[in-house]
Every structure is written in structure tokens, then in C-alpha cells.
């Protein structure tokens, strides 16, 4: 067992992936000498060399587009997009190329590319540094999308994503980079594309992913003091969704609240609400509720505490669910 921050767990996972497979190549802005703006790639260029940890020119389409070519040559590129809001220059390559080349080539050209994106708010940043663009990618056929919430998942899921033959957009909760936990570096991890119950409960099922898992767990803690038992599911995988644990839970609780930082309208919560309503219709005691960001431009950082779902907004939604 090792005590690791989420950021260090990612770093350790990257190191392990590079040791395990010489075809793994890291590319991104400032990831070499600097070790990345969040230091996730710290020390890797020094140990693996400039051919495997590449400081790229400042152009995101270039990063992803050249990763496509490297993948065609048999490499496994792991690219870092410096911040969530900077992924859009690469959006064309991700959506029209990375996502489609496997289908277009009938499997002759697999795209084992991992696209790492630090996402979400809460760090007091300037604009384009606090966004949650996961729904764009989850909506894109051909991509797989995951979000990690804790150091153990960071360590394991990153290695699993890199080893996976399909392109994986890998969301990292940047405000949780410094959260610490015990990580068993020898444990057998659960499958990459699986959701997990992280706290058992009977009254309401709370669904969250990425940075909101911690918030949901805090809400469950607070609810317990008030005599309410909340079950918390960490979705972990956003595409494909793994709703079996969710449905099992909702059939017991009859109530479901989905939490994410992204704007509520047409966010992941909308899809989950539709599916849970369809699969658990006869068990539901209340409509599936969503707690998300408001449908506004991500606000200046002085307002982000108001914008981001927090413990109280989650509990307020739990109250509404219980009120039906």
C-alpha cells in the first residue's frame, strides 16, 4: 500500500504503463521538462527520454492529429490536453478522425489513444480552465469516456485506458489532484468500464463521477446525521454507461439523484434519467432528479462556489426526491 495524491497516482500509473509497454508515447504541452502544469508527468521525460515524453508545439489539433498517425504506426499515444477548455481546437480530430477511423477501416486501424483532460472547476481559475465538456465526447460514437474520482482509480484506470484498444477520453478532476488516499499497487482492479457503489444506503441513490463523487459522499455523510441513508454510485465510465449497479440500487431505493458539474441541460444526467426511468419505471417513487451546473457560461471564479453543485444543493435535491 502507498499513500498517494490523485495526481501522483496518475504519475505512477503513467510510469507503470510506460514500463510495461515501450509503444506508449506521451505528448502534450509542457509535459516534458516542466512535468506538466499540474506535474502529472513529472520526471517521466528524464527517465524515458524525449522520444517517449514529447514536449509538443502549442497546438491541440496537432497533438491529437499526430497521435492518430502514431497509432497507425503501432504506437499507443497518451496525450495531455492542458485544460478542459483547450480541447476544442482538437475537437475536429477527436470527433471526425479518432472516433471514426476504426469503423471506417473495419477494424484495420485501431486507435488506442488516451486523451487525458483535467476537468471541472473549483480552483479559482480564469475562463476556459474550469469546464466539464464530457457530454460532447460521451455523445460521440467511437469514443469511450471515463472520469476518475480517487487515487486508486486514477492509478488503475489510467493504465487500463492506455492498454485498451479503443480511444479513451480520460477525465481527471483537477481540484482533487491533491487529495490523498491509500492505493494498493498490487490489487486486481475492477474492469475499466464499470460503475461502483462506493457507499451503501437505502433511501436515495446518488450518482456522481469525477470531482462530484467526493461531494456526494460528503452529502451522504451529512444526511446520515439527519437519519437518511444515501447510496452513492461512482459512475467511473460515462461511455459506455454501466447502469447495472445503478438499476440494482434504484430498484431498492426507488429514488435517484444524478450530480455533475456540467451544465444540466443535455448533460450526462439527462441520458441517465431517461435510461433509469425506462429500466426502473415500476420501482421509482420519484422522478430522477438532476443536480448540475446552471445553463450559463462558466462564471468568473468569484461566483463558482455558487455555480458548482455542493453538499447543500445535493441535499436539497435529496429532500425534493423524498418529498414525492
Amino acid at each position: 500500500m502507498s499513500t498517494l495524491t490523485l495526481g501522483k497516482a496518475l504519475n505512477t500509473g503513467l510510469r507503470k504503463a510506460m514500463e510495461d509497454d515501450p509503444k506508449v508515447v506521451l505528448m502534450g504541452e509542457d509535459i516534458g521538462k516542466l512535468g506538466g502544469v499540474f506535474r502529472i508527468t513529472d520526471g517521466l521525460q528524464k527517465d524515458f527520454g524525449e522520444a517517449r515524453v514529447v514536449d509538443t508545439p502549442l497546438a491541440e489539433a496537432g497533438i491529437v492529429g499526430t497521435a492518430v498517425g502514431l497509432a497507425m504506426r503501432g504506437y499507443k499515444p497518451v496525450v495531455e490536453i492542458q485544460f478542459d477548455g483547450f480541447v476544442f481546437p482538437a475537437y475536429n480530430q477527436i470527433v471526425t478522425q479518432v472516433a471514426k477511423i476504426h469503423a471506417r477501416s473495419r477494424g484495420k486501424l485501431p486507435m488506442p489513444i488516451t486523451i487525458r483532460i483535467p476537468f471541472g472547476g473549483g480552483i479559482g481559475a480564469v475562463e476556459h480552465h474550469s469546464e466539464s465538456p464530457e457530454a460532447y465526447f460521451a455523445h460521440t460514437t467511437g469514443l469511450k469516456v471515463v472520469a476518475v474520482s480517487n487515487p486508486a482509480d486514477a492509478y488503475w484506470m489510467l493504465q487500463q485506458a492506455i492498454a485498451h484498444p479503443d480511444p479513451v477520453v480520460f477525465f481527471e478532476p483537477k481540484r482533487r489532484y491533491w487529495d490523498k488516499a491509500e492505493v494498493d499497487l498490487d490489487a486486481a482492479p475492477p474492469p475499466l468500464f464499470s460503475s461502483r457503489v462506493v457507499r451503501a444506503g437505502d433511501d436515495v441513490t446518488l450518482l456522481a463521477y469525477g470531482p462530484m463523487v467526493k461531494t456526494a459522499l460528503q452529502a451522504a455523510e451529512a444526511a446520515e446525521a439527519e437519519g437518511r441513508s444515501l447510496e452513492v454510485v461512482d459512475l467511473r465510465t460515462l461511455s459506455p454507461l454501466d447502469l447495472a449497479p445503478v438499476e440494482e440500487s434504484v430498484r431498492r431505493t426507488g429514488r435517484c439523484v444524478v450530480v455533475h458539474e456540467a451544465q444540466t441541460t443535455l448533460g450526462l444526467g439527462a441520458e441517465i434519467a431517461a435510461r433509469v426511468s425506462e429500466s426502473c419505471f415500476h420501482s421509482l417513487e420519484a422522478p430522477v432528479l438532476r443536480v448540475g451546473g446552471y445553463d450559463v457560461t462558466y462564471p468568473p471564479s468569484k461566483l463558482e462556489e455558487e455555480y458548482l453543485p455542493d453538499l447543500d444543493r445535493v441535499l436539497e435535491a435529496v429532500d425534493r426526491s423524498m418529498g414525492f
Binding site: 489539433a61 492529429g65 492518430v68 498517425g69 471526425t96 476504426h102 471506417r104 484498444p165 479503443d166
Partner: protein, 373 residues
Amino acid sequence: MTAVREMVDPVPGAAAPHLPAQPDLVQLLTPEGERVEHPEYSLDVTDEELRSLYRDLALVRRWDVEATALQRQGELGIWASLQGQEAAQIGAGRALGEADMAFPTYREHGVAWTRGVDPLDVISLFRGNDLGGWDPVATRFNLYTVVIGAQCLHATGYAMGIQRDTADAAAIAFLGDGATSQGEVNEAFIWAATFDAPVVFFCQNNQYAISVPIERQSKVPLFQRAAGFGFPGVRVDGNDVLAVLAVTRAALARAREGSGPTFIEAFTYRMGAHTTSDDPTRYRLADELEEWKLRDPIARLKAHLSRSGKADAEFFAGVDAEGDELAARIRKGTLEMPDPAGTEMFDHVYAEQTEEIAAQRAAFLAYQEGFEK
């Protein structure tokens, strides 16, 4: 020719003596079919090779004519004609080595031909039977890329892989004049330059991006742009298969030896429409096409072969007959091409199928079977 077009000195060759010559244009075969020397680019080519180059040019044009006819008869959804660009494509394609990898746009039927891609596999894409059509790994000819310019980054990344493999190979990206305005293409230039990637950017400047003339893409001749990125740019007569072959060979050799990228501007003309959905009479004058017909890439090599006695009437008749056989095979193969099974759309979205798509596939099958009962 309107005055504005003089900016890029559009008409190469002696066939239009009233227009300015292009001092920078690499040419080894004049529009009249006269073999000329160039101080930097020499080409040793046997008579046999010359005849086989002619054969390639003539056969891809025959394929192109047949495909256009098939589209007009409703057998293809669309066709992008390469007419006028045969020399640029055959010259570049024939310069490639076995280990090199080509990244085409959607008009490189001539390059496909040189890579051994079956014309029917290309037809299957335009007929709507397939999203790709051929095996890009086996043919070392990537699938067509329709989003303009995206393939330039793929070629550059692939070249970075070649570097890491320390392989004796190069990548070549095909692009058009319009693509040079794309950000991704300019990013590819920067990447290739700063990493000395073994990649050749082969731009067929056919003067139009659908309807928009080159003047709207560039204020300078395209080949001059390369200097700003830090690698050589060459303008070659794109209707001269010998010059294209020589220039592309040199650029590929330079890439393979580790000296980095080259930008080749093959100066040519799209004699047909952009695609079968286009109407070029809306944006260009008939006399322009007539000027370019004088520089036809196939007539020029034919003139050279005939006048020099390197090929006789029997040879040309043989190629014509071979062309007709090819056209007949393409026609028959197109008409007999089976429609894809409906389930195919579910089968290759991912390397590891998801439960969601597997369930949708099963539901689709059940739904279809419901009709059959």
C-alpha cells in the same frame, strides 16, 4: 485569364507563349512532349518505364471516365474526378517505395492505382457500400480523408513513428490548394519541421477549391510558404509525370535520410468538376480549360513516346484495349456489387464492442426479422 490570376503565374509551359514563364517551375517534359533537363532534378528512366508510366496515366483516366459515367447512370452516389491531375498522382505514387505510407485526400485515385488498390474498392466508397473500401495497412495507402487537411497531421504523426522505429521509410501527405488554408495543415507543417519528421507534403494545386480560386487561399505562390516553416518548397509542373516523379523521389529520399520534410506544389488543373455534383461553368471560363487542355498530362507523354519512337501505334492501341477491359471490369463489378448487410454498421464502431451497441444490433436484427415473417 484575368489580371488577378497573374499573381501566381498560373499557366506553365511553352504552349501559351503569350503568358509569362515560370522560372521556378521544375519541368522535364514540355507540353509539346520535348524532354528537357533541369539542373537540380535529373531522371534516368528507361523506355519501358516511360511506357508503363503512360499506361498508368491512361488507365486511371479510363477508370475515371467510367466512374463518372456510372455516377451519371445512378450507380454511384458521387464521384470526384481526377481528370487533369493524372501525372501529379501517378508521378508521386510511382515515386513511393514499398515501405512508404501514403495519406490521400479523396481524389487520389491515381495514387491508389500505384499502390495496388483495386478500383472497385474505391468505387465501393463512392457507391455508398463502405466507409473506407480497402485495407490501408496491406496497401500502405491510407483511407480517403474527407475533412480537408486532417490527413496531414496523420502523415506527420506516422512519420514520427517511423523516426522512433528508425525505419528506412517516409510518409507522404496529399493535399489540395484549398487545404493549405486549414489550421491543421499549418500545424502539420510546424510539427514536421520542428521534429524533422520524414514526411513529404504533396500539394496538388489544381487552382480551385470547389469554386474558390487559389487567390482566395494565398497571397504568395504556395511553394514559397514552406520557407516560412523552415523546409524546402518546390513547384513542379504537375502535368509532367517525369518531373513529378523526379521531384517526389528526391523529397522522399531527403525525408528517409533524416533531413526532414519537403513541400511539393504540383502545379496542375482540375479539368473536370470538383465532383459530379458540381458545375464549374458557374465559376470559371471555358477558355481557361482550353488553355489547360494544351497541357494535358497524357497527351504530352504520348507525344514524347510517339515522336521519339519509344512507343508505336500498336502499343497505344494495346493500352486503349486494356483500358476498355478495365472499364468493363469496373462496370460489371459495380453493377454486381452486393449491398452491405444492415448489421455491418454495428460491427466495427469499436475494437471492443460495447453492450449498448450489441443490444442495439440485436434489436435491429429482431426488428428486421419482424418484417420478413
